[in-house]
């Protein structure tokens, strides 16, 4: 390093630092201590205990790290497993409750049929009200609008941290898109709408949690199939002319989403469970009959 033609000391400083790092791997302290000691010096009293304590600490540290790492991993797996099993249990619980609701609804319908006259104003009123409330499964002509995420979604920018990204960061289509299509369909004259087989009722909400769109708190994922009953011709014409449709046509070209709508003569929409108003009630002073 100390040749006669040393170019520029400062220019070489960083390079020398690196060379020094690679070539002088041993702590210089050892050489200095050896030089200080000279040959044949008697061993100091604390030499052996010091080495013993140092090695003890090293061994302890290594095992500490090992135990910590290997205890942490099964813990994380355990937490994950228990979360998965809890989700599964909640799902089966929810499914059995939904089945029970359907069962009870059948009983209710049977009881109503038995109690009410088969035809007449009351039965018609009830059917109409239930239809409008989205409680009855319905069928009829309508259109199906499909929104689909691009086939190969853009990689999430920071894959290291899950659960912290908002839906808009990773998905092009969000609750807002589903909502705007639904609103446009209501505006175009739809009489009943379902999103991915979740029937919309007057109190339905479309929002998002994490990376899933929630319709009435039921998570749905792409592709989003929005089916609307109504005059199929009118619906599709009005929808095709709407600004919502043209926006998604643009997105098809720009972002590669899937978007399309088809008319069909006979769509079947499921009914939703009865929604009980929690706050709204009929004023007690008015009789229900004289509306």
């Amino acid at each position: 390093m100390t040749g006669p033609d040393k170019p520029d000391d400062r220019a070489l400083a960083s390079a020398r630092l690196l060379i020094d790092l690679v070539t002088n791997t041993l702590d210089p302290g050892y050489a200095e201590a050896a030089a200080r000691r000279e040959a044949g010096a008697p061993r100091r009293r604390y030499d052996r205990p010091a080495v013993a304590v140092g090695c003890l600490l090293v061994g302890f540290l290594l095992v500490l790290a090992y135990v910590h790492t290997h205890r942490g991993a099964p813990e994380a797996a355990k937490v994950h497993d228990s979360l998965v099993s809890r989700v599964r249990a909640a799902e089966t619980g929810g499914n059995s409750l939904a089945a029970r609701v359907r069962d009870l609804e059948r009983q209710l319908a049977a009881a109503q049929d038995a109690a009410l006259p088969k035809s007449g104003a009351i039965a018609r009123d009830l059917d109409l009200a239930q239809l409008q409330a989205g409680q009855l499964a319905v069928s009829g002509p309508g259109i199906t609008v499909t929104l689909r995420e691009p086939a190969a979604p853009t990689a999430s920018p920071d894959p290291g941290r899950g659960g912290t990204t908002a839906i808009g960061d990773t998905n092009i289509l969000t609750d807002r898109d589903v909502r705007s299509v639904v609103n446009e369909l209501w505006h175009d004259g739809a009489e009943a709408i379902s999103v991915n087989d979740v029937r919309l009722t007057p109190t339905s909400a479309i929002r998002f949690a994490g990376e899933a769109v929630l319709v009435d708190f039921q998570p749905i994922t792409s592709p989003y199939r929005i089916r609307a009953l109504g005059d199929a011709d009118n619906l599709s014409t009005n929808f095709a002319e709407s600004s919502v449709a043209s926006r998604y046509q643009t997105l098809v070209g720009v972002d590669g989403i899937g978007f399309g709508f088809t008319e069909s003569g006979n769509l079947k929409l499921p009914g939703s469970g009865p929604v009980k108003p929690r706050y709204a009630s009929v004023p007690p002073t008015k009789k229900r009959g004289n509306r």
């Binding site: 790092l21 690679v22 070539t23 791997t25 041993l26 702590d27 302290g29 050892y30 050489a31 201590a33 050896a34 000691r37 100091r44 604390y46 030499d47 052996r48 010091a50 080495v51 013993a52 304590v53 140092g54 090695c55 003890l56 600490l57 090293v58 061994g59 302890f60 540290l61 290594l62 095992v63 500490l64 790290a65 135990v67 910590h68 205890r71």
Partner: protein
């Protein structure tokens, strides 16, 4: 000899006690391990070179661990924790490799 016995004793002690690492200490553990390995390989090489010194070994071990932890701590506070950790690991890793190569030359003359 005594070093090997002490090392095994430390390992056994750790296995028996199985101490839990406090959360605030967790980020420093990997770096401390790398620093400890550096000290061990340095000590081994110095011994083979015939210039081993107990004081230098213990002091370099403790100071390595503390300085590495300090660097990570500062890095975490300043938002460059992972980068500084990488720097520490690279530097200590080079040293470990160099010392391991020297030990290999001593042992196998190759």
């Amino acid at each position: 000899m005594i070093a090997g016995i002490a090392l095994i004793a430390g390992i056994v002690l750790g296995l028996i006690l199985r101490p839990t690492v406090p959360t605030w200490l967790e980020p420093y553990l990997p770096i401390a391990v790398v620093a400890a390995l550096d000290a061990v390989f340095g000590g081994l090489r110095a011994r083979l070179d015939g210039i081993f010194d107990a004081k230098v070994f213990v002091v370099s071990f403790i100071s390595n661990v503390l300085v590495a932890a300090l660097i990570v701590f500062l890095g975490d506070k300043l938002g460059v924790g992972s980068q500084l950790s990488t720097a520490v690991v690279v530097v200590l890793g080079i040293r470990i490799f160099g010392n391991a190569a020297a030990i290999r030359r001593h042992l196998f003359r190759a």
